[in-house]
Amino acid sequence: MGLGAMALGSLMGCGSKTSSVIADQARDLSRPLLVRAPHFAPKAKQVIFLHMAGAPSQLELFDFKPELQKYDGQDCPDSFLEGKRFAFIEGVPKLLGPQTPFKQYGESGAWVSNLFPHFQDVVDDVAFLKAIHTDEFNHAPAQLFLHTGGPRHGRPSMGAWLTYGLGSENQNLPGYVVLVSGQSAPSAGKSVWGSGFLPSVYQGVQLRSQGDPVLYISDPPGISRDVRQNAISTLSALNQLEHAEMGDPEILSRISQYEMAFRMQMTVPEAMDINEEPQWVHEMYGTEPGQTSFANNCLLARRLVERGVRFIQLFHRGWDSHGSNEFEALEGGFLRRCQEVDQPMTALIKDLKNKGLLDETLVVWGGEFGRTPMRENRGGKVAPFNGRDHHSEAFTMWMAGGGTRPGITYGETDELGYYGVKDKIHVHDLQATILHQMGMNHEQLTYQFQGRPFRLTDVAGEVITNILT
C-alpha cells in the first residue's frame, strides 16, 4: 500500500522503549497504544478469559461432593445461613445433591462430571482452582468485581488495565477484544469491558459476528476500497499541507490515525473470517461460519491470539440456574450451556497447544460466583425445576497455559461445598495473578483518579505463586 510509512513509524516506533515506569500519566495520549515494557519478564503474552456469565454450578461440573448427596433433601444447617445475604433463598432451604455423576480423569486424576465429555481429555493441561471466593452475590456487581476489581460501575476492566500498561502489539487490530455469545450481553453491560476512568481508548472493542465486526468498519455502500484509498491519500496530503502551515505535531498523529483505520478495515474482517479455516478445525471446535456462537468465538480467539491481540474476553451468557423455569434449570438450560461450551473450549486448549501457543497464552475459565449447595426456594416455595442460588463463598475456576502449573487441583471446599477450607483464592488474588503472568505488578499498575492512585486489585490481592510454574 505504501501509505505514509514515515508517519506510521511515528505512531508505532517506540516498541524498543524499555522504561520500567509504567504508571506515569505523562505519557503521550495522542499515541496511547504504543507498546510499553512490562514491569518484569512475562510468562504469558496474551490472555483469553472465558467468562461463563450467569455463573455455572461448580457442584455439577468440577467440585464433586458425595457427602452432599447423602444430605440431599435435608434442611440446610443453620451455620450456613446465619448472617448471610442471598439473592433469593429465604428461610431454611433444603440441600441439593449433585445432579450428575463424576469421574476422575487423566494422570492428574481431576474430577469432572459427565456433562463435559470433551473437557475430560485436557484435564492434564489445566489447573483447577476450587476455592475461589468473591465479595458479591448479584450478577452485575459480581461481574464488575471479577473484571474491574470493584462492584460498582466506573472502574477500568482488566483488559483495559493491561492495554493501558502494555499497549497493543498489533496496531492494525484493537489490543483488547470482546466476543459475546449466548442469551444476551452480560448483566453488568459494557462496563465489564469498559475503561472506567482510564481514557476510553483502552476499553474493549467488541467484535461482532453479525453486522460490522467493529462498529463503522465497513465502507458505506457505493464507496469502494479504491476510492477510499484515494480519499485517505488525499487526506494525508491535505493534512501534510496543514502541518506545514500550523506546525502542530498532532496533525501527524491524525495522518497516522486515518492510515491505521484504513488498514484496520482490511485486517479486522480478515481476522474474523473463519471460512478460511480447514474443515477439520471446524469439526474440532464445532463451528459454523456465520453464526454467533461460543464455538465460533473460541476459534476467533485463537485467530486473534495468532495476530497479537493482547486480551481476548469471551462472554457466554445463560448460566443462571435458579430452577424457576426450564431455561434456568439444572436439568434444562444448564445442560445446553454445558454442551455449547464443552467441545469448543476443549478444542481451544488443544489447538493452542498444537500450535505451540499455549505456553504464552493464559486461558482463564469461570463464572462471577458459584451456586449454593442448597436448592433454591424463592418465595419460600419449592421451585418447579432443580436450581441453586448465587453463592459467593466458594466456586471453581480453571486456568491453562501462560505459565500456570498443568494438571493440578488447588484449593478445597468443605464436605458440602459451601466454604473454601484450604488454599482459598479471592478474586483480587486471581486478578493479581493474571497481571503477574503478563509481567505486571498489580500494586504498581496504577492510575491517579479522585486524588489517589487506583489499581485493579484495590488495596488487596496476592499472586498465587503455588499455581505457577
Partner: protein
C-alpha cells in the same frame, strides 16, 4: 529505637557546616517542603499510614511524641530532629525513606533549614483566599488588551517569549463561534466579519454569540459531564429515567446568564429556598442524577447511601476541586480532611426522601413550555367535540399548565369524561401520552424527623461509628452562624466570598474549555497532589473578577476571556516553541485542539445544512449501528426518528449509561455514571472510522455535497472551494484545491465506470449522477480533515 546517633550526627555536622557557607535562601513550606513530603514521605507518614506513629499531615501531629518517645521534628533543631537523622542515616535499614533511594542532598538541606527556621506549616495555596487587592501588572505593551493579557505578557517576557500575531479573521470567527455556541459560523457571518473593518467588529460578533440561544446548549454540554446526567438509572437493568427537563433547566439557566451563585444554590438546594418555584425544584434534579439499583436482592439502603456519597463527592469535585472519595474510608492521605469530616458533609445530604426506589419519588410533575404547542394541538380535538375552547379555559386557570393534566385525571368538563366514541378515545390516549414529565427532585424530611448520620467505619455502610452533625471541613472557612445547617446553608457557603476555592475552580473549568488545558491542569484536584497553577496570579485575579466585578456572570467572564489578545492569537507553532512549550502552558500562541464529541457532531450537521435548531424536550435517538443497543426486557427501545429529531444537537441524544451513544464515546465522552471534570483527549483509528463511515457523517457528507452543487457556481473549482469554506470558514489555497480536484476527477472517473456504485451511494434517483457521487466523496474528505476536526 536505635538511631545510631553518633554517625548520623557526625555526618550532619560536616554537612550543615558546609552549606552554612552559602548565602541563605529562604525555604517556604508550600514551595519547597510540601513537594518533598508528598513525594517521599506521605505514603507511610500521612493520613492513611502513620508508621512509627509519625505523620506529616498536620503540624501538631508531626511535633507530637512518637512510639519512640520522642517527637520526629524539633523546631529550631534540625540536627536534633529524628527526621533529619533518619534521612541521613548510613544504615539502609534505618534510613528514610525506607526501601527507596535516599533523599537528594538539596532536599535534605531544605528540610534542615526549614526545621531550623521553626518548622512552620503553611496552608496549601488553594485554601487561602485570593488576594482581593490583586490587579494586573502594569505594562506598556500595545499587545495587551485586558487584564488577562497583562498577566500572560509578564510571564512571556520572563520566559523570553513573545505573543503570536492575531489569528486571521476567518479562523478567529470560527474559533470563537465553536467556543461560545459550539457551532461553526455561517458563510454570511464569516463574510460580514471579514468585511467589517470597524474597531468593534469582533466585539459585536462576541456579543451576538453570547446572546444566541445556542450558547446555552454549548455550555450545557460541559455541565452535563459534571452533573453526570443520563437518561437511565444505571446499574444492571439501567431502565429509563425521566430527567430531560433538568437538561433544559441548565440550558435556560446558561442562556439567561443566571449568576453562578444562584445557579449553584438552586441546583444543590432549590427545594429549601423559601416558597420555591417549579423551576427551582426542577434544578435539584441535579443531584437526582445519581444511579439507583433495582436488582433482586439489592438493599435499597446500600444504594441510597451510595447515592448520598456520590452527592458529597460530586459537590466537592465540581465546586471545590477536592477529591473526597478517599475520605469515605479514612483521613485524606495528603490533604487536610479528616475521616469524620466526610460524614459531616454526608449529613448535609443524608436527609432527602429518595430511597433508591424504582418509582424515583419524590418527583416534580409539571409540563414544560416545549410541550405546550403539541398539547394544545391535541386539545383542539376536544374543542370541537365539546364545542368549547379548552386551551382558552385552561390558560385562564391558576397554574394552567400544571393543572392541565388534571383534564385527564379529573375532567372539569363532564363532556370530555363522557366522550366514548372511538375518535375521542384515540384522542384521549394521544393526550395521555403527552403526560407531563415526572422529574426526580430533592426533598428533605422535616427537621424533626431527620436521619441521624453516623460515621461508617472504613467506609463500610454496615459498620456504624459515632454520630456526627452537618458541618464543613475545618480547613475551610466555618459555616456562618446565620446559615441553616442543611443543603441550603452548604450551597450558600460554597458561593460565599470567603470560600477560597469555588470561584477559582469554576473559572478554571471555563478556561479549560476555551484553551484546552486549565490554568490548573487538574481541574478536579486543587489539593496538594493536584498540579500547581501555571499563572497563579491570573487565576486569582480572574476568580476575584468573576465574583465581584462580574457578579458571577458567566457571560461576562467568557467575554473577558475571548476578548483578550491572548485568546485571539493565531495557533501556528514553530518547532522551537513546540519543544519549549508543547502543551501551550505559557500561551505564546492561540489554542488549537480537537473538538469535543458534541462539537464534532454538531459541526458536521451544521455545515451540511442538516442540523435541526429545535431546542429542549425529551431526548432523541439519532441513528446508531444495529446491535449496539441492549434491549433488556423490552424496557427501552432505540427508535430512530425520520423527522428533524434525527439531526438534533448532540446534547439532546438519549444517554443510556450502560449503552451510551457509540460514536460519542469514541470521541472520549464519558458514560456519565459519575462526575467527570476532564475528558482526556485521545486519538484512535476508531475515531477515523466514525468520520469516514458512520451513517450520520455519511448523511452529512451528502448534505454538504448538495450545498456544494446548489449554492456554488457551475465550475468544479467553485464547488470544491465552496465546500471547503463551508467546512473550514476560509477559502482553500491553490495546493489544497489541487489535491481536492485531483481526487474529485479520479473519483468521477471511477463512478462513470461504475454506475451501480452511484446508485448504491446516492439514494435519491434525481441525484444519481457520477458527479454527485464524486462530490459526496469529496465532502467526506473535507469533513475528515484535521483542520475540520480541530479548533484552530
Amino acid at each position: 529505637m536505635n538511631f545510631r546517633l553518633t554517625i548520623a550526627s557526625l555526618v550532619l555536622v560536616v554537612f550543615t557546616s558546609a552549606f552554612f557557607l552559602w548565602p541563605k535562601k529562604e525555604v517556604t513550606f508550600n514551595a519547597d517542603i510540601r513537594p518533598i513530603i508528598n513525594n517521599e514521605c506521605i505514603a507511610c507518614h500521612g493520613g492513611v499510614k502513620k508508621s512509627g506513629g509519625f505523620s506529616l499531615l498536620y503540624r501538631d501531629e508531626a511535633l507530637s511524641e512518637l512510639e519512640s518517645g520522642r517527637p520526629g521534628i524539633i523546631p529550631g533543631d534540625a540536627e536534633g530532629s529524628p527526621l533529619i537523622q533518619r534521612v541521613l542515616h548510613t544504615d539502609p535499614e534505618e534510613r528514610m525513606p525506607l526501601d527507596h533511594p535516599p533523599l537528594l542532598k538539596k532536599d535534605i538541606e531544605k528540610l534542615s533549614r526549614w526545621i531550623d527556621d521553626g518548622a512552620e506549616w503553611e496552608t496549601h495555596w488553594a485554601y487561602i483566599r485570593p488576594d482581593a487587592t490583586l490587579s494586573p501588572p502594569a505594562t506598556r505593551s500595545s499587545w495587551v488588551r485586558n487584564g488577562i493579557d497583562a498577566f500572560v505578557y509578564k510571564r512571556l517576557k520572563k520566559e523570553g517569549l513573545s505573543p503570536a500575531e492575531e489569528a486571521r479573521k476567518e479562523l478567529l470567527i470560527r474559533r470563537v463561534s465553536l467556543d461560545l455556541i459550539g457551532l461553526p459560523p455561517t458563510p454570511e457571518e464569516v463574510q460580514n466579519f471579514v468585511q467589517d473593518t470597524s474597531p468593534d467588529a469582533y466585539e459585536r460578533v462576541v456579543d451576538r454569540l453570547l446572546a444566541s440561544p445556542h450558547y446555552g446548549e454549548r455550555w450545557t454540554a460541559m455541565w452535563l459531564d459534571l452533573a453526570r446526567y443520563g437518561n437511565s438509572q444505571g446499574y444492571q437493568k439501567d431502565p429509563y429515567r425521566n430527567i430531560w427537563a433538568y437538561r433544559d433547566w441548565v440550558i435556560d439557566a446558561f442562556n439567561a446568564d443566571m449568576p453562578f451563585d444562584q445557579f449553584t444554590i438552586e441546583q444543590i438546594a432549590g427545594d429549601l429556598l423559601p416558597e420555591p418555584s417549579k423551576e427551582q425544584l426542577l434544578a435539584t434534579a441535579f443531584h437526582r442524577n445519581t444511579m439507583s439499583n433495582d436488582e433482586g436482592g439489592t438493599d435499597d439502603e446500600e444504594f441510597r447511601v451510595a447515592a448520598v456519597m456520590d452527592r458529597v463527592s460530586t459537590t466537592f469535585e465540581i465546586w471545590q476541586g477536592t477529591t473526597m472519595a478517599c475520605v469515605q474510608c479514612h483521613t485524606h492521605p495528603y490533604d487536610p480532611y479528616r475521616h469524620e469530616e466526610y460524614y459531616e458533609l454526608f449529613a448535609f445530604f443524608n436527609n432527602t426522601k429518595d430511597e433508591d426506589k424504582g418509582h424515583e419519588k419524590p418527583v416534580l410533575r409539571a409540563y414544560r413550555a416545549v410541550q405546550k404547542p403539541v398539547v394544545e394541538e391535541q386539545l383542539k380535538g376536544f374543542d370541537e367535540l365539546c364545542s368549547t375552547d379548552f386551551t382558552e379555559s385552561y390558560s385562564s386557570l391558576e397554574g394552567a399548565w400544571d393543572g392541565l393534566w388534571d383534564l385527564m385525571d379529573r375532567p372539569l368538563s363532564p363532556c370530555v369524561r363522557d366522550l366514548d366514541s372511538e375518535e375521542a378515545q384515540k384522542q384521549k390516549t394521544a393526550l395521555r401520552k403527552l403526560a407531563p414529565p415526572r422529574t426526580p427532585i430533592l426533598q428533605d424530611f422535616p427537621p424533626d424527623s431527620s436521619r441521624v448520620t453516623r460515621i461508617f467505619e472504613r467506609g463500610n455502610w454496615l459498620v456504624h461509628g459515632d454520630t456526627v452533625l452537618a458541618d464543613v471541613p475545618a480547613i475551610l472557612p466555618a459555616l456562618p452562624n446565620d446559615y441553616p445547617r442543611n443543603r441550603l446553608g452548604l450551597a450558600q457557603w460554597l458561593v460565599h466570598t470567603e470560600n477560597p476555592l469555588t470561584a477559582r475552580v469554576i473559572v478554571n473549568r471555563f478556561w479549560e474549555q476555551i484553551f484546552g488545558i486549565g490554568l490548573v491542569e487538574t481541574l478536579e484536584d486543587f489539593g496538594s497532589q493536584g498540579e500547581a497553577p501555571s499563572h497563579p496570579a491570573l487565576l486569582d485575579w480572574l476568580a476575584n473578577q468573576y465574583q465581584h466585578e462580574f457578579q458571577w456572570s458567566t457571560k461576562l467572564l467568557l467575554k473577558h476571556i475571548v476578548m483578550s489578545a491572548t485568546y485571539r492569537q493565531q495557533s501556528a507553532v514553530s518547532e522551537a516553541l513546540i519543544e519549549r512549550d508543547p502543551a501551550n502552558r505559557l500561551l505564546a500562541r492561540g489554542p488549537r485542539f480537537r473538538l469535543s464529541a458534541e462539537q464534532i457532531r454538531d459541526q458536521a450537521l451544521a455545515v451540511s445544512g442538516l442540523l435541526s435548531t429545535k431546542m429542549h424536550g425529551p431526548s432523541v435517538m439519532p441513528p446508531q449501528p444495529e446491535g449496539t443497543w441492549q434491549v433488556i426486557r423490552g424496557v427501552l427501545k432505540w427508535e430512530t426518528p425520520q423527522n428533524e429529531d434525527r439531526y438534533r444537537r448532540a446534547i439532546y441524544t438519549f444517554w443510556r449509561r450502560s449503552s451510551p451513544y457509540p460514536s460519542m464515546i469514541t470521541f472520549d465522552a464519558p458514560s456519565r455514571e459519575f462526575c467527570v471534570s476532564r475528558r482526556i483527549r485521545t486519538n484512535t483509528p476508531l475515531q477515523a472510522l466514525v468520520g469516514l463511515n458512520d451513517i450520520v457523517y455519511l448523511e452529512a457528507a451528502k448534505g454538504l455535497a448538495m450545498r456544494m452543487q446548489s449554492e456554488a457556481g457551475a465550475t468544479l473549482s467553485e464547488q470544491l472551494a465552496h465546500g471547503f469554506s463551508l467546512a473550514m470558514a476560509y477559502s482553500p489555497d491553490e495546493a489544497q484545491l489541487e489535491n481536492l480536484t485531483t481526487f474529485y476527477t479520479e473519483t468521477l472517473a471511477h463512478y462513470r465506470q461504475n454506475p451501480e456504485a452511484v446508485k448504491e451511494l446516492v439514494s435519491n434517483p434525481d441525484l444519481q449522477t457520477p458527479e454527485m457521487a464524486a462530490l459526496i466523496n469529496s465532502a467526506n474528505v473535507l469533513m475528515n480533515m484535521d483542520a475540520f476536526l480541530n479548533k484552530s
